[in-house]
């Protein structure tokens, strides 16, 4: 609480008065006796004021007597963050939230939350994205309300599409009469700061009092963490941050109670169980399903109860890769064979059941039987927006539960078990045996596929995967990267069974996600002592490589293995497709899509940011020893990077 009694109406009033008074003194300093002690002059004033006419003022304004306050509004805001259990604030320092910054590091002791220094707001949000998928809760982002949020916006969109909670606080100067041009506060101010990202945040607010901020801070966290989870945003006005907490103010942080996720109703659950039990060939399709380890365990129980195959669209770590009922690599066969298909948080259910043909005339073809019954359980039915089209193609289903799939599974498992008869059990066992054999055959095939180009240079992605596994298999590992461009090799060859061993994809397809998300996930893994590993696409790292410095500075242990194919390779394939379609030859497809002449030296880039690095590695026989050395560094608590020159996919 502020001790001073002469508190100006606003912080800016106070500051301007000090500046004006000090400038007057500075302007006349030459006439003062040398022995006279200099009056405090704000450093910025001495820089800015010579450009302005002298201010004639006989006495400093009365407000200048107030030079210190004990507690600012930003202290209370930090109290709010602490009450929510937020462990970290990721931010690029910015003047519009300077009070919040200072309150975190001094008032809050720079602990829970701890300030994580980022060099790009896209990195701040990307780190939060990865962190949340490991830890199951958000960290906090601070950013300028204008330029910072603009930098952050793509990463927010990724998190929104991925249904991941991100907690954003942005600074803004709403009162136009308090904006200081010397700080660039006019272009850093905005009428409706959240408008730019409102299409892809779940909720935002602009509190006008500290009481309001307290309620909105808790409400924002609750909204973000209620499935379907998504980013939220609060605007922290600079005046509100910097002004003293009013004397006698009875501020409190409201209690947080997270709502239980919505479950499917009993009638729908009974009908879903009936369809699944009676089906000759039921199938379960999952995407952003499992929120926790319990979610994985529940899906295993349901699949085993039914002896039903599972197709994992890999939005989360949903189902053990080596489980005999994991039939992901047999998608075409099991979908075509299924008579009942249940989607659990299947974001793009349509594409699991159909194919699209990308030639001049795009055509589609169903894979599923025309009379197959479809069931969906998804929070996607509870929440959608119009502008950005991340809701995918509409899928007509026979039974839809607007509910959280993980929360619904206990009741569905219980009802399924209740409806199973001895006859059905025998049928299930026969089905399970066939699926188990097919799973083993697919695994053997994956191993055979991995042998091709085994000794090639550039190094095959399968070889990288196998070499990496040999070095981490006895560790408590966590693979914190997207795998799509890596031919999904780890999911095909490694045994995944823990929720933190895989964190899905970027959601919105925005390139530049993987590097910060893997650092954020590694930050979350740090306290658990896990070995975080990222397969890092070259093009992705180039968006904001400075996140490597953040990892080095904060001693975030992470092994980054570059998938350096020296191209935006997917885009090159797109250009190739167009060139072929237009019958012009593809020898120019590398223009605008490749990174050659000169090659990026990612090891030097990383070394320049204080990260242990080796490479470029082009000989597959050198990879194993290099991995050993890099992992030793990571196990000491630091990041390491290996630049591996790879095959395209």
């Amino acid at each position: 609480m502020a001790k001073s009694t002469k508190v100006p109406a606003g912080r800016r009033d106070f500051l301007k008065s000090v500046v004006a008074g000090a400038a007057t003194l500075a302007a006349s300093a030459e006439t003062l006796p040398a022995a006279q002690p200099a009056q405090p002059v704000e450093e910025r004033a001495s820089r800015a004021m010579p450009m302005l006419p002298p201010v004639v003022e006989s006495d400093p304004p009365a407000e200048a007597e107030v030079l210190n306050i004990d507690r600012s509004g930003s202290d209370f805001m930090v109290d709010c963050l602490k009450s929510l259990g937020i462990e970290y604030v990721c931010a690029v320092a910015g003047s519009s939230f300077r009070a919040l910054h200072e309150s975190v590091i001094n008032y809050g002791g720079n602990s829970k939350p701890e300030f994580i220094t980022c060099c790009h707001e896209e990195s701040s949000v990307g780190m939060s994205h990865g962190y949340a998928k490991i830890e199951g809760k958000p960290l906090c982002i601070f950013a300028h309300g204008t330029v910072g949020l603009q930098h952050a916006s793509m990463a927010i969109y990724n998190a929104y599409c991925d249904r991941v909670p991100v907690y954003i606080v942005i600074g803004n100067n709403l009162d136009a009469t308090k904006r200081d041009s010397a700080y660039g506060e006019w272009p850093h101010s905005v009428q409706d700061a959240a408008a730019m990202v409102r299409d892809y945040v779940k909720w935002d607010d602009t509190p006008v009092s500290l009481e309001h901020f307290g309620e909105s801070a808790v409400r924002a966290y609750k909204v973000a963490m209620t499935p379907p989870m998504a980013p939220v945003l609060l605007v922290a006005d600079s005046e509100l941050q910097e002004n003293p907490i009013p004397e006698g103010a009875a501020l409190r942080v409201p209690r947080l109670t997270l709502p239980a996720p919505p479950q499917g109703d009993s009638g729908s659950i009974a009908e879903a169980a009936r369809l699944l039990v009676q089906a000759e060939n039921p199938l379960i399709v999952v995407d952003r399903y499992a929120r926790t380890q319990a979610g994985i365990d529940l899906l295993v129980e349901l699949a085993e109860t039914l002896q039903a195959p599972v197709i994992d669209q890999a939005g989360r770590m949903n189902f053990p890769t080596r489980h005999p009922l994991n039939q992901t690599s047999r998608r075409g066969a099991v979908v075509a064979n299924a008579d009942v298909i249940m989607g659990l948080e299947a974001t793009d259910f349509w594409s699991a059941l159909n194919t699209m043909h990308d030639q001049v005339h795009r055509t589609t073809r169903p894979i599923m039987k025309s009379d197959a019954k479809l069931i969906s359980i998804t929070t996607g039915d509870l929440y959608s927006k119009s502008n950005y089209q991340d809701f995918y193609r509409y899928t007509g289903v026979d039974l839809a539960m607007a509910a959280d799939a993980e929360a619904t599974l206990p009741a569905l498992i219980e009802e399924t078990k209740r409806q199973i008869t001895a006859d059905r059990k025998r049928a299930f066992d026969d089905r399970g045996a066939k699926l188990s054999a097919a799973h083993q055959k697919a695994l053997d095939q994956a191993r055979t596929d991995a042998t091709y180009a085994w000794d090639a240079s550039p190094i095959s992605t399968a070889r990288v995967c196998a070499e990496l596994w040999a070095q981490i298999k006895d560790e408590d590992w966590s693979l914190v990267s997207i795998l799509r461009h890596f031919s999904w090799w780890p999911l095909r060859l490694w045994p995944f069974d823990k929720h933190y061993q895989y964190i899905g994809t970027q959601g919105g397809g925005g390139v530049g996600y993987n590097a910060p998300a893997s650092v954020g996930a590694a930050l979350a893994n740090k306290k658990h002592g896990r070995l975080s590993v990222s397969i890092q696409d070259d093009g992705d790292l180039l968006f904001a490589p400075s996140v490597l410095w953040t990892a080095a500075h904060h001693r975030i242990p992470l092994l980054s293995v570059m998938h350096n194919n020296r191209a935006y390779h997917e885009e090159m394939m797109h250009v190739q497709r167009m060139a072929n379609r237009h019958n012009r030859g593809i020898d120019r497809a590398g223009i605008g899509t490749t990174f050659e002449d000169p090659n990026f030296d990612f090891a030097k880039i990383a070394q320049g940011m204080g990260v242990y690095a080796e490479g470029p590695i082009t000989d597959p026989n050198e990879l194993g020893p290099a991995l050993k050395r890099a992992i030793a560094v990571v196990k000491r608590g630091e990041p390491a990077l290996l630049d591996v020159v790879t095959q395209p996919r």
Binding site: R331, R463, Q576
Partner: protein
Amino acid sequence: MKLFRGSCRAALATLAAISFFAAPRVGVVSAAQDAKSAESPSGNADNGKQLFVKNGCYECHGREGQGSNMSGPRIAPDPIPFDVLLNYVRKPRGEMPPYTAKVISDRDLADIYAYLQSRKEPPTAKALPLLK
């Protein structure tokens, strides 16, 4: 004769199974073709290696023709018969973009084919400790 024979066909089956991960998707030949193989033309494997890169074949199939479930099936070693390959390249039925004679000549395709034929069989998975 099948369009993709032996383990190449198995690679296609895998591709068909998990291609939902992929964008752009990869074409899956809907049915194996029965066709009589013509004699393989003589070609220059060294020139074929250059053409394999220049014409972007490696982009989807890998520099050794090893394939990927994300982009294109394995096409080497032991490639499909040349006449089947030629027909498919000219008029693909899956996701592969078409290569007309204006873009790549039969002669150049023969050189590429020679390159694919020159690729050596890899060791078996059981012979590789890292894949056990």
